[in-house]
């Protein structure tokens, strides 16, 4: 069964078209990540799904029902916000219980569900504290707990980790992945961070300017990007692009090579001057000026001693080359 189905969804604010013709299906139990640069309409899409904004046109189905006219609280969704958005005047317990109280659930059921969510997210010790007495990571766990107690058909996360520091981000990411396995619930997760997208998703939806660029499994999107935008956006360091003519290809086309597929030597298919070396310990990124508009980044596994300013050659196999036409589409 599909948990969510969007058909031809458009959204404009006055003259400005923010979402253009979005078609999408989310299967039951699937973890779908919306990824795209800031301002591409990810949050707007999430707000349209949740009912906080009305779609200008198109239909939104959650479960099997069309919910265009249904209010947010009745759509069977729960949302976790980047800014936590906890109720400042309520304790952790009441923050989590509020939605159930609004639904007039029996008291013991509320208590039970809150206790269960608190156990799952190890919030048991903080139930009587107020949000201001919690750290950032704890607050975000409470926000997640508030979503969990509602037992929604669909979870919506809007950049939930952006306000956390790196270590906490990693932990909370693992926690969300674990939660997804435990609850086997359908989840939609918005991020501009492609590491989060790659690590969490069953299915990635790449957005640009309110338009879906590509939908697919993370590895599929990585190996087989539909166009230059996706190829550049997914993967870090970003893919290298070289004019095809330099490698004896068709004029106007670009060849894309991922940094990790390059080998360095005295000479190679392209050559240039090393302008910077990033030694990360585990791997080494070598930035080479190869005379095209952007620099070429070679990512080598292990540690290398290379002088900036030295001349090196770079080799890569044809099997690892992707071709893009002048419009940026794959050929």
């Amino acid at each position: 069964m599909t948990a969510l189905k969007l058909t031809n969804v458009c959204k404009s604010f006055g003259e400005v078209e923010v979402l253009r013709d979005i078609n999408l299906e989310v299967e039951d139990g699937e973890f779908v990540v919306f990824v795209g640069p800031s301002g591409c309409g990810k949050s707007t899409l999430l707000r349209v799904i949740s009912g906080l904004e009305d779609a200008t046109s198109g239909t939104i189905e959650i479960g099997a029902d069309i919910v265009n006219q249904v209010s947010p609280s009745k759509r069977g969704i729960a949302m976790v916000f980047q800014s936590y958005a906890l109720y400042p005047h309520l304790t952790v317990r009441d923050n989590m219980a509020l939605a159930l109280k609004q639904e007039r659930k029996p008291k013991d059921e509320i208590a039970e569900r809150v206790a269960e969510a608190a156990r799952m997210l190890s919030l048991g010790d903080y139930l009587d504290r107020r949000p201001s007495e919690l750290s950032g990571g704890q607050r975000q766990r409470v926000a997640i707990g508030r979503a969990v107690v509602r037992e929604p058909k669909l979870f919506l996360f809007d950049e939930p980790l952006s306000n956390l520091d790196a270590a906490l981000r990693m932990n909370t990411r693992l926690e969300i992945a674990r939660l997804h396995r435990q609850l086997s619930a359908s989840m939609i997760y918005v991020t501009h961070d492609q590491t989060e997208a790659m690590t969490l998703a069953d299915k990635i939806v790449v957005l640009k300017d309110g338009h879906v660029e590509q939908v697919g499994a993370p590895i599929e999107v990585y190996n087989n990007p539909a166009n230059r935008f996706v190829a550049e956006f997914i993967g870090s360091p970003a893919m290298n692009f070289i004019p095809a003519e330099r490698l004896g290809g068709v004029a106007g086309q670009q060849i894309g090579v991922r940094p990790e597929y390059s080998k360095i030597g005295e000479t190679g298919r392209i050559e240039g001057q090393v302008i910077h070396v990033e030694k990360l310990g585990g791997d080494t990124n070598i930035l080479v000026d190869v005379g095209s508009s952007s620099t070429f980044t070679a990512r080598m596994f292990g540690q290398y001693e290379i002088e900036t300013g030295s001349h090196i050659g770079i080799d890569f196999e044809d099997a690892h080359c992707l071709r893009f036409d002048a419009q940026g589409n794959r050929v």
């Binding site: 916000f81 800014s83 958005a85 109720y87 400042p88 939605a99 609004q102 949000p131 607050r139 508030r146």
Partner: protein, 279 residues
Amino acid sequence: MNKARRNPLNTALAHVVLITYTVIALFPVFVILINSFKTRKAIFREPLAMPNADSFSLIGYQTVLKQGDFFLYFQNSMIVTVATLFFVLLFGAMAAFALAEYRFKGNTLMGLYLALGIMIPIRIGTVAILDLMVSTGLVNTLMALILVYTAQGLPLAVFILSEFMRQVSDDLKNAGRIDGLSEYTIFFRLVLPLVRPSLATVAVFNMIPIWNDLWFPLILAPAEATKTLTLGSQVFIGQFVTDWNAVLSALSMAILPVMILYMIFSRQLIRGITSGAVK
């Protein structure tokens, strides 16, 4: 904390400036207070001297308390001020919330229209207002004053509050909507507590001009039963003789309630900020 703020010289300078200002601002109040406890002769002989065994007198207070319905005036002023503040804050905050939160046709226009009231003094419309009050039979009621002061206070209140309401996190309101809270609950339980400092600001701005106003009480509610404190105190200021003891005593007592109200609101100003909700 940045360096400049921690520099002791800067701190000292800031304090000197602030204390100077406080002294200048409090001086007239102080003079009124000390003179209200002196005999009439002592007031004129040495206005700046503290009351001593010789010059001490409660004659002013006795006159004021004996004269007419001083407590009634007090009560009238209190009712008018508190009721006005309540309505200004309630309606001002509601209008501000609507302007800040909802996208509807004419939103900006409505905001500008309301802001226009800040620039046009309400006294220009006195004749029309009096007309209106006469035909609605509201002359010589406290309601007349409350209505006029509410109208007078709303523009600035809406203007200030909508600015603050825009700063309340959208996520928080949206979280409430998803949890099934009504717009009223979101407004009263989530938004209002977060803008409490700005409510206190608006209250303080509105309170003092209303408390001190002589114009509208004189025109709209001069009857004995509806006199406000400012209007009531005028009986001691005569064309030929002014009972300074009584005037000073009346003024001293009039300071008290505003001071209490001010203290209530300024505590809110400081305490109100509930951190940790967002971020």
